[in-house]
Amino acid sequence: MMDPLPDVRRTAGALVCLLAFLAAPVAAPVAAQSVDDLPPVTDTYALTDARVIQAPGQVLDPATVLVRDGLIEAVGTDVSVPYDAREIDADSLVVYAGFIDGLSHAGVQRPESGSDDEEDGNEAEVDPGDPPTDRSGIQPDRSVRSFLAPDEKTLEALRKIGFTTGHVVPEGRMLPGSGAIVQYGGASAGDLVLEPKPSLFAQIQPADGYVYPATDMAVIATMRQLFREAARRQNLQEAYRENPDGRRRPPRDPVHSALFPVLDGSLPMAFYADDALSIHRVLTLQRELGFPLLLAGLAESHAALESLETADAPLFLTLDLPEEPARSAESDTIAADTTDRPSRFYDPDLRTASYRDVSAEAENLELRHAAERKKYLRTAALLEEADLPFGFTTREADAGDIRSHLRTMIEEGLSAEAALAALTTRPASLLGLDRRLGTVEDGKIANLVVTDGSYFDEDTSVRYVFVDGRLYDYASESEEGEVTGEASAVVGTWSYTLETSQGDFSGTIEIEGDASGLSGTFVGPQGDEQDLQSVSWDGTTLSFSVDSPQGGSATVSVTVEGESFDGSVSGSGQSFSISGERTRSPDR
């Protein structure tokens, strides 16, 4: 700990150097290895022979999509591929419009916590009953733009599953600041911003720490106070502008001034409200103060449907779903949504006649929880049935769960067409972006998702994503390793030599496991180790990927012949040869 250098040197040893070649910063668009050998000097791409879902229910198959200068230049069955285009053979692939996220914090870098000296220094001086506005969470004058970072990791996680644009809002408490329409990919923070100020973000969220407003009711009271005082100030300023003669200069501050466009009706308040009580409270406040509203979250909109039907607000449903609680194995067997005993349902009229029936009562209550959970899974379907146009928000969802949650929503009655609309055309129109985004049509921004099947099928993977015409290649990433070859042919220790432009590196690879799956370790020249991921072996080709400690990963693919292999390591548009020999095998 005295001297951090040896530590750093060890972890930043040869393996890191090595992987640094292979895994350039993740967010940088990469050349598609499988397409051709051209360096990424062109920004023109042609996706040929693709099944193109232009909009929900509107299909061209097969068709070509031509991307140039960040725009979709042409879509059709007879589009010719220009000389400078990189052609991607999209036969058997499906092209969708890039998905639009109704509200998230993607790309927002959190300020470093703990280092803030005002936290320690001035804490004692803050009057809990009258703290400065930023301590209260009243920061409508901030903008999310100053917090955007293109290499922030949630951007990559969401882009990987097809999200290319989002309504991104700053983090904070009751009034964290104004949002922005953000492209989920780009070289700089400036690149990311498509629309600078679509909304003012708000939530019924008390202040951090024990200061005013410490409760929801005080947050609501503070909203009223801010709106009504802002209205007074706006009136004074207008009067002053018309005739300053003999008038005192009106008061002016950034907090109240930030609300003027909301009072004018030109800037919506984007509220996040998940539970039914919050939804009701926000709608009540809106009726009272009359601001334009955008509503996201809505996990319990099944319990507030009537109010939502009369609300004049774009709706964005959370892609998070409740999980089954962990229980003992025994009680798990009575969860109502298991299919093994479909005849058992919650009985709302049950009366327990005797204490001897407590187990029947407990089982019934257990079934109630399951039935209740079902309502959340069905909420998207319910909104569709109620004819309420809605998009989705990823804010509370783990990117890794989103696709399975979408499948659940569809299993529970949401039509696939409505699901796709909620990812593309609906949010585009609800956010006023429909002239630029939401469909695969010429003239639109080239935000595209290319998959190897229907997006809503479990087996489908996302192969390419375009953001602003930039290609992000996920084709080489397979989710899980597959072992079909005889495992003993590769299990053991292999020595390898990697030929790079900076010379040769050597080390070892350990592989263990059996037909049910292989795993192992990649050992660098100086003994540093990384786990192998997605190890696949089909009897001829062995492939796996290795994560770089700096982020990103390299894919290794070799052909095994007896006790030696030959192949390549690739990542981030570079590729090197690798060869090796087995030095230890299971039978030795």
Binding site: A214, T215, M217, R281, E324, D349, L350, R351, L365, H369
Partner: protein, 478 residues
């Protein structure tokens, strides 16, 4: 635990056979519409009951006709018009729905304990219609509750008078339309503990509490004057808007009734003097354990006297509550003070009729006087006595039906009507009356019951800095 087992034993005797339970378990999924009472009728003829009107004596074999949620007729031998449901209440007792003047059920927040004066906040903004406490109150014949801000601040937030329309899930649906606005004040140890001891701020003493209240009211006077001056053209701009001062200006103008947490006789006299200085007439003291010492003064306050909402016989839970008596309600009543009995603590709202019955043992009140403590008297304290609090034609059909006289220890609530809708039915309601369960929760949560820690409800949400021999600790009251 023993309670629920004995309850189940009781039901086992006359209850549903096990076979029936098992049969229904295998039935197809039913909807939970019963709990919401979405299309429940509000036209009823309640027949052949002993009707305890509270304000107009008792009617034997009495009938009550309910039309559109209101009491249309009270008498004998009434006939049911077409479309009205009939309930045979022979052998049973009907009293006006019980009114609880001081509770903290059905709200998400209790205290905004950061500032000495928080009149701008209101528990009406955070009503929680899912609270099972509403149903538990209904099961004790309660139909109207004054849900209150806590007592951490000398001037707390606005309270809300709600009707127990359990089943309505829009929070706005609980509010009693047209009920006067009220605001919480608090004297004595709670505010001095939170601010003086806890944060070394004013008020540390009862003198400080008076000072905080006087200063806030003076500010409100200036605010109201400035607004008026602007409206009359004597000022070129309105004063800076203040939600806080708007409410306190309402107190000064008589639009907002002050409901004040208090215990000791000296502080009760103090607030009456302060209010006389500011010309404020509408004042109800809560708890008022030393009210018996100043009953004549309370009765003489302002034009109509100050109200007093007391506990039946609870005391000695902190220093300022030692000098108390179970005769308090009776002494106040005998001295002409409009008195009511409240329970304050979520969980205790279920047996207010028994709390009222204690005044027969301690003070020899008549049945009507005892029942008035939980019906018409709290209605007057809340300014809603034109709508509820007695069985009279034209009033809301808020009715509680008992199988025995409600002041008997053997009585059991049978049915509770709110606006003519049955919201509690001892015979028909299933065991599980929760409107909402946590989708990620487990059954343990379903057994979540009355928690003794909630006894600190008046200071719920307050963080204390507690000085002990081992140093300072932070204690948060949930």
């Amino acid at each position: 635990m023993t309670d629920s087992i004995s309850a189940r034993l009781l039901r086992a005797v006359g209850g549903v056979p096990l076979a029936v339970v098992l049969a229904t378990l295998l039935a197809a999924p039913a909807t939970a519409q019963d709990r919401l009472r979405a299309d429940a009728p509000d036209d009823w003829l309640i027949q052949d009951a002993t009707v305890l009107t509270v304000t107009n004596g008792t009617i034997e074999n009495g009938d009550i006709l309910v039309r559109d949620g209101d009491i249309a007729r009270v008498g004998t031998d009434l006939s049911a018009p077409s479309g009205a449901e009939v309930y045979d209440a022979s052998g049973e007792y009907v009293m006006p729905g019980i009114i609880e003047a001081h509770q903290h059920i059905a709200i998400s927040n209790v205290n905004e304990a950061t500032n000495q004066v928080t009149a701008e906040v209101g528990v009406g903004d955070v009503l929680n219609p899912y609270d099972i406490g509403i149903y538990r109150a209904l099961a004790g014949g309660v139909t109207t509750v004054h849900v209150m801000h806590g007592s951490a601040n000398p001037i707390g937030g606005r309270n809300e008078t709600i009707k127990l329309r359990y089943g309505v899930t829009d929070p706005q649906g609980l509010k009693m339309e047209g009920a006067p606005r009220t605001v919480k004040f608090a004297l004595g140890e709670n505010p001095t503990r939170v601010y003086g001891q806890g944060r070394d701020q004013q008020p540390r003493t009862r003198m400080g509490v008076e000072q905080v209240i006087r200063e806030a009211l003076r500010k409100a006077e200036r605010y109201a004057e400035a607004k008026e001056a602007y409206e009359n053209g004597e000022r070129d701009r309105p004063p800076e808007h203040s939600e806080r001062m708007e409410v306190l200006a309402g107190v000064l103008s008589g639009d907002v009734i002050v409901q004040c947490h208090s215990y000791r006789a000296d502080e009760i006299l103090m607030l009456m003097r302060v209010f006389e200085d500011f010309g404020i007439q509408d004042l109800v003291f809560h708890h008022v354990n030393e009210g018996f010492k100043v009953a004549p003064e309370l009765a003489a306050f302002g034009d109509d006297g100050a109200g007093a909402s007391v506990f039946s016989d609870w005391w000695a839970y902190k220093f300022e509550v030692y000098y108390s008596t179970a005769y308090n309600a009776a002494v106040l009543t005998e001295n002409g003070v409009n008195a009511s009995i409240n329970t304050d603590i979520p969980g205790e709202q279920r047996d207010m009729y028994l709390q009222a019955a204690k005044t027969k043992r301690y003070g020899d009140l008549t049945d009507d006087e005892a029942l008035a403590l939980i019906t018409i008297n709290p209605a007057r304290q809340l300014g809603i006595d034109d709508r509820v609090g007695s069985i009279e034609e034209g009033k809301d059909a808020d009715l509680a039906i008992f199988d025995d006289h409600p002041l008997s220890v053997y009585t059991k609530p049978q049915r509770t009507y709110v606006d003519g809708v049955v919201r509690f039915d001892h015979e028909e309601d299933p065991d599980d009356m929760r409107l909402r369960v946590d989708p990620e929760g487990t059954v343990d949560l379903a057994r979540d019951g009355y928690d003794r820690d909630r006894r600190k409800s008046c200071l719920k949400g307050v963080t204390f800095l507690q000085a002990t021999e081992s140093g300072l600790t932070l204690q948060h009251s949930h």
